[in-house]
Symmetry: C2
Subunit: 389 residues, 2 copies
């Protein structure tokens, strides 16, 4: 379980002093020889995108999809910080680039934490050279990096997918859509497969669609969401069609770890929509159900009232015919052709009492399928988010 397991990567983590708690709050992921390798990234679509998102997007564009390293700070999002925030993000890249001996555009930067507060640059400036020096391929260095990107997470989120010919590793922090107090979802992946920047970007887009973009805790799109994938090419092989499946597998694992760690949630729900007009419409409908306050409350209470699910599907903005709708909880069909169906109520109650709920909505229109992972809504979410401190 190490971000440095694929050949060609080193990492480091440090308690620089951004977090008052003294926890690790600065991390570096880099190639072991400072070479700029094919690197793809997906960023938040939020128009209030944070300074590091703006800077990283720019660097990746200027470098033609190549990077030598990613610097990550946690505890402060460097969002809503204006031009000074952009200068701070650039300075972080410049310092790391200088340490690594590479051009500034070969370093990406991510931050996670509270919005609207200037970054404490003094500890960060002092920490970066220490971090650069400490970087290594050791298990401990990788663990420190995985810890250094966390905020309210209860544990490190890591994954390693190994194949006979190449490996994919990842680390993530599950805030943002999941544990939104800190307003950020970050994930970093490495592989030693050999893939050029353009196909790498294509496959990351697919992997993200089927993992991070298929989960929702509160429907909030944060200002800092970033997923980065670096490919060292050291394994010498790289059929994108093979690699995409392994990268997706790694992303799904990290997304699952995030949902499982969602603050204040007691249940995970999998909303499966089939029979939609298209995959896109199925996904939109599943997300509408997963994001519904009423549905989330009913999951918290283990309530089998499927009328709420039907109502959300009807207002999801996708093709819908009530008379063709079927709904099943844990495989037990409770609604068919849009009306209540006699069913085993005890079986539904038992399924709803569990911690992993499956709701299947068959729209009966065409072949579009989609799945979204969500969570219930209980007191815990409110407790966690009613105040910032």
């Amino acid at each position: 379980m190490s971000i440095t397991a694929p050949k060609g990567f080193v990492a480091a983590g440090l308690a620089a002093g951004i977090k008052a708690s003294g926890a690790l709050d600065l991390a570096l992921l880099a190639t072991d020889d400072a070479s700029a390798v094919p690197t793809a990234a997906t960023f938040t679509t939020n128009l209030a995108a944070a300074a590091p998102v703006q800077v990283s997007r720019d660097h990746l564009e200027r470098s033609g999809g190549r990077a030598s390293g990613v610097l990550v700070s946690s505890g402060n999002a460097n969002a809503a910080t204006g031009a000074p925030g952009r200068d701070d993000a650039s300075s972080m890249c410049a310092l790391a680039a200088s340490g690594l001996g590479v051009p500034i555009e070969h370093v990406l930067v991510c931050s996670t934490g509270l919005i609207g507060i200037p970054l404490p640059m003094q500890p960060i400036e002092a920490g970066i050279p220490v971090l650069v020096t400490a970087r290594s391929g050791s298990e401990k260095a990788a663990r420190d990096a995985a810890a250094g990107i966390l905020t309210t997470d209860s544990a490190r989120k890591e994954v390693l997918v190994e194949t006979p010919s190449f490996a994919v590793a990842g680390m993530a922090k599950g805030a943002g859509m999941l544990a939104p107090n800190m307003a950020t979802m970050l994930a970093f992946l490495t592989t030693d497969a050999a893939i050029e920047p353009r196909p790498l970007a294509d496959l990351l887009r697919i992997a993200v669609r089927d993992s991070f973009n298929s989960m929702s805790v509160d429907g909030c799109t944060s200002t800092n969401d970033t997923v980065v994938l670096m490919a060292s090419g050291r394994a010498g092989v790289g059929d994108p069609n093979v690699v995409v499946d392994r990268v997706t597998e790694a992303c799904v694992s990290l997304a699952g770890q995030m949902v499982a760690d969602a603050e204040g949630a007691s249940k995970i729900v999998q909303i499966r929509v089939t029979g939609a007009q298209s995959d896109g419409e199925a996904h939109a409908a599943a997300r509408k159900v997963a994001d519904s306050l009423l549905v989330k409350c009913s999951l918290n209470g283990g309530d089998p009232y499927w009328g709420r699910v039907a109502s959300e599907l009807g207002s999801a903005g996708v093709a819908f015919d009530m008379d063709r709708l079927a709904i099943a909880y844990g495989g037990v069909v409770v609604c068919r052709e849009g009306v209540a169906l006699e069913h085993d109520g005890a079986a539904v109650a038992e399924h709803l009492a569990g911690s992993l709920i499956d709701i299947h909505c068959q729209l009966g229109l065409a072949d579009g399928n989609g799945v979204v992972m969500g969570v219930d809504l209980g007191y815990g979410y409110i407790d966690e988010n009613r105040t910032t401190s």
Copy 2:
């Protein structure tokens, strides 16, 4: 405060036995001479629209925007009930029409309550003739009608707007987007102004846009939402430009009563967005903020963390430039040009401790304005909605 105050209307309310509690659950609003008067209605956009919505929409179309009466039942939504549900809704109209001595298409029908359960037709069929006989222009009859449409509301919601030349009255129930356990928002308005069906429909659309459609408790669009406006013409006057303002005034009052009665809410928030690219974009942005789980939680806790508001604006799908954004809580500017502004923290804390919160977001782009009323999210909402019973 009587739905029968405008000249030409009678009403009645009855405990027919739909609700196990024995509370009033059947209501009738009709013209005093059974004449079919210009009538406009707006219905839910939910594609899982309930049977009574489908039937009423059809009747209004067939009658060319005229009706003699509206029958309302509470305790069961007659939604997700398929073809039998549509037959039940038609039977209700037929019975009322027969009692009033009018064609079936001159009667509209609304139901509110749980989804997916067949209507108990026996008590309804027994109750309708009693209701028809009981109809009158008395205060008590109007009160009974206003009570007969309620579900989880804590009190009747009524309004009367009088002018020297005409009057507008209304009654409503505040479920649906507000107290969504029962999944319905219903409002009925009468006026003795003289307005033809087409301008009546136009003015109702405007009034609804600026009242009911400018509030949100949980972003859920119910299967039964309906607003009906009947115009008897007895006052003899009817400049639509004058009447629209009074109808809007009545609708705003009823919407305000709904928000104030929102289940589980402790605070009302007014999100004002100015400087948007258009009024439509301002409204969409205000709604995104009002519906945000993170913002709603922070209101519950009286937390002044404006970063959440900025993040929601950035992901609202409207034109947005972070560097032009200003945010004020209760008139105290906390963010200007997209970054934190030194401000009187005690004044903000005091404002947030109150029960009516004002958040003003100035996007700084153009002249588009919009306001959405919302509520906080606390334990009460979860308690109310985690189980159906």
